[in-house]
């Protein structure tokens, strides 16, 4: 079986990623997560989303680690 999707995954290409973390971020956090939209969900989660390449993605994950925020989920979503 071939996997057509994975052949397109290139580290330099940007995809839309959604990062879900626990707790609402303060609005002044936005410049830490430049390029991502920050949505505060009613259940208390924060959803960060936007087109990022792999390098930027790891940068954001490291930032989340350094804030000590519990990471709930990370997924790649269709860009359209």
């Amino acid at each position: 079986m071939t996997n057509h999707q994975s052949s397109k995954t290139d580290a330099s290409e940007a995809f839309v990623y959604q990062i879900r973390i626990k707790g609402h971020l303060g609005p002044w956090r936005s410049d830490w997560f430049e390029g991502l939209t920050i949505r505060l969900e009613e259940n208390g989660d924060t959803l960060l989303a936007g087109p990022v390449d792999q390098a930027a993605l790891y940068g954001f994950l490291r930032k989340i680690r350094d804030l000590g925020m519990p990471l709930l989920s990370l997924e790649r979503v269709k860009s359209d």
Binding site: H24, G26, R29, D31, L67, G68
Partner: protein, 904 residues
Amino acid sequence: MNMPILATKLYIPVPRTKAVIRPRLMDRLNEGLDRKLTLISASAGFGKTTLVSEWVAGCDRPVAWLSLDAGDNDFTRFLTHLVAALQTIAENIGGSVVSALQSPQPQPIDSMLTILLNEISAIPNKFVLVLDDYHVVDAKMIDDALIFFLEHLPPQMHLVIATRENPQLPLGRLRARGHLTELRAADLRFTPGETAAFLNQVMGLSLAVEDIAVLETRTEGWIAGLQLAALSIQGREDIPAFIRAFAGHNRYILDYLVEEVLQRQPDHVRSFLLQTSILDRLHGPLCDAVTGQKEGNARLEALERGNFFLVPLDDRRRWYRYHHLFAEVLSAHLRADQPDQVAALHRRASMWHDQHGSPADAIRHALAAEDFKRAADLVELALPAMQRNRQEASVLGWLKALPDKVVCCRPVLSAGYAWALLSCDKTEAALDRLRDAERWLETTADSRERLEAPSAGMVVVDEAAFHGLPGTIALYRAAHAQALGDIPAAMKYARRVLDLVPEDDHLRRGSATALLGLASWTNGDLESAYRTFADGMANVQAAGGISDVIGGSIALAEISIAQGRLRQAMRDYERGLQLAIEQGDPLLRGTADMYVGMSELCRERDDLHTAAQHLLKSKDQGEQAGFPQNRYRWRVAMARIREAQGDLDGALNLLHEAELLYVSNFFPNVRPIAALKTRVRVAQGRLGEAFGWAREHGLSVRDDLSYLREFEHITLARVLLARYKSDRAHLSVLEVLGLLERLLQAAEEGARTGSAIEILILQALAQQMQGAIPAALVPLERGLTLAEPEGYVRIFADEGQPMEALLKSALKQGIARNYVRRLLAAFSKIEGKTSVNQVLSEPLSERERDVLRLLRSDLSGPDIARELGVSVNTLRTHTKNIYDKLEVNNRRSAVRRAEKLDLL
């Protein structure tokens, strides 16, 4: 000159007088001492550092502490500080590692670590090394170094790593082997009991049980959250209301609470907190410089007393840092509240650090301020010290952060960039930077007559370096050319260095002179090569580059050998060895290489026993005592001993290995391994492969001759002679004789007596094959005359039976009687040898022989380990090596084989 050590990085945080007592964690940490590694891996704010410092305070072993920061991704800086931390336990440790780090030649990491591990294993007592904040490390080199360390960890040492993310270590393997103790978030979070003790006793609140339960639930025992909550509660009127609001809020705890805390501070405190959040390390006067306020010291002390996430970094309360989490939120607030201020704050911090002698911090803040001009000025001025300390990685990091247009108008900085790139083996990129630097020199030279002012657009801060720049550039150019094998260019630039650089600049003059010597060697001009290279080494030695001088004796000895001066070559090696001993460091780089060289000379004198002993000694020194080339040189030397013993297959195998391990250096490759292999094949009668080699290397009897290819051409003559021996075609022997005549003439012109002796021997053998014994004795006699004073034996003996017959004829003629008798004795010795295969492909070391003797006894593994005073693991390594070398897989067959080989 040593790299500056930041003492604050080695400071063991002192636990607070009031702290939550956590016996369950203390017990686990104490139990972990018997294993290799304790890993404390949890997100920020779980009290990792506090826990370890409390445990350390009550630990009965001495503790070395290293707090890592992003700068430690520079391996030199990391290892320097690691050694400094270990020196707090054992003062004399790591001296040779630090000097190796500063040597102009990059040293293999494993070697340095092995030296360090050996020194650790000599520490009489057990101790603990703590690496705090390991998550800042993302250099694979450092992970690898740690893996190596853990694999060979002496039993004295226990390692503790505190980190926010799992380190890139083989944790699964460590866990499975019982080497690992882990404390993770689930272990670290406060239990309800600890939460109560923390809030009411440590933070001095008197909260009701139900309020504590709410806070505990909301923070999930996250310690930083609880501390912030306590700070927000202190002095509040309506505590239950605050707790209800906090519990009911969805906001991320840290954001919510820091805002609460900040809002409750007076303006000047709030502004102090925000503005100083740009600093990695806080110091009263530095804070004053940045904030424009006064009494920074008092402010810091007050914050510490108030539990404001301030961590003291020394006993005298001079330096502090904010807890990372707190700093993170403060700096986010600063960026949101006062975005225009940030650059100015960094610039002030940069200025303060510059005035107070910490250029690295000054540069970091200038870069953060995006004040690139200032950063470039600072880097340019920091270059000489960075070069002395070989911190090319840091320099490269700074320069990469600068916009190109800022760098390329600065000739001194561009040359510094080239240095950093050359040091990191980025030869191509270095050339561009050298061209940038040169462009400005050309411009200044042209315009000197027209106007005195520097050319427009050029920026120079370090005037002295600018005046020396032509010499600097020439030296980098020479090194660049040498790296690419462009000898004429290397010579041209090296000569230019000598014209440009002052007499007392020993290192630059020495390096350039040595490069010239190597170039002469490559051209076959041996007399001048020896003199020039020795002269260069004398200068390098005056500049303190001992290890390079020891390595240089290999070049000198090899030149002597080509000149047929075996005794001088032995003196060259002995002198190198002597230098190492004088340094009081028997493991100094290059000692292992000296033994290999001496072994080859002993072999030539037919003292095969001593030759093998020297190789064993070289091996016992360990790989760290050798240059990268030693691994292949050792195998070549061993192959030739095998050859002398008649074990041609064994010799060929070793040469195959040597070929795989071959590493070039600046020395010319005058004895290629492929040619050595061909000689063995000729001896085996595998002429097809031998001709294949000649074709592949494009060799023919009509080639122009050069010293670089001399060994190959002599080998070709051997191949052709072997063919003549089988086909007896008259034409082919004429061809060989013609080639040999030309080779002899070239060798004599170049005063290469060593080569001449071999060529004369081949001429004699060629005549002998044609049945012309009197004609054969003429070149033989010349060869004997040249060889006798230097004690050559194998060069004749390796030719076997035909040479034996020829020497007997010479003896009858009364030619060099005593010498020829001595030579003939060497032939009979070979025939007397029964089993050449009795020698192992890799000899056992002294230690392995000790182990082997005990393996023959009835002692159990642990008993043997005790007997030898090593750990069971070390014993296991020894046994495994013994099995490998003996090609067996259990104790009984190892003993049986060893007995058969008479190794015991």
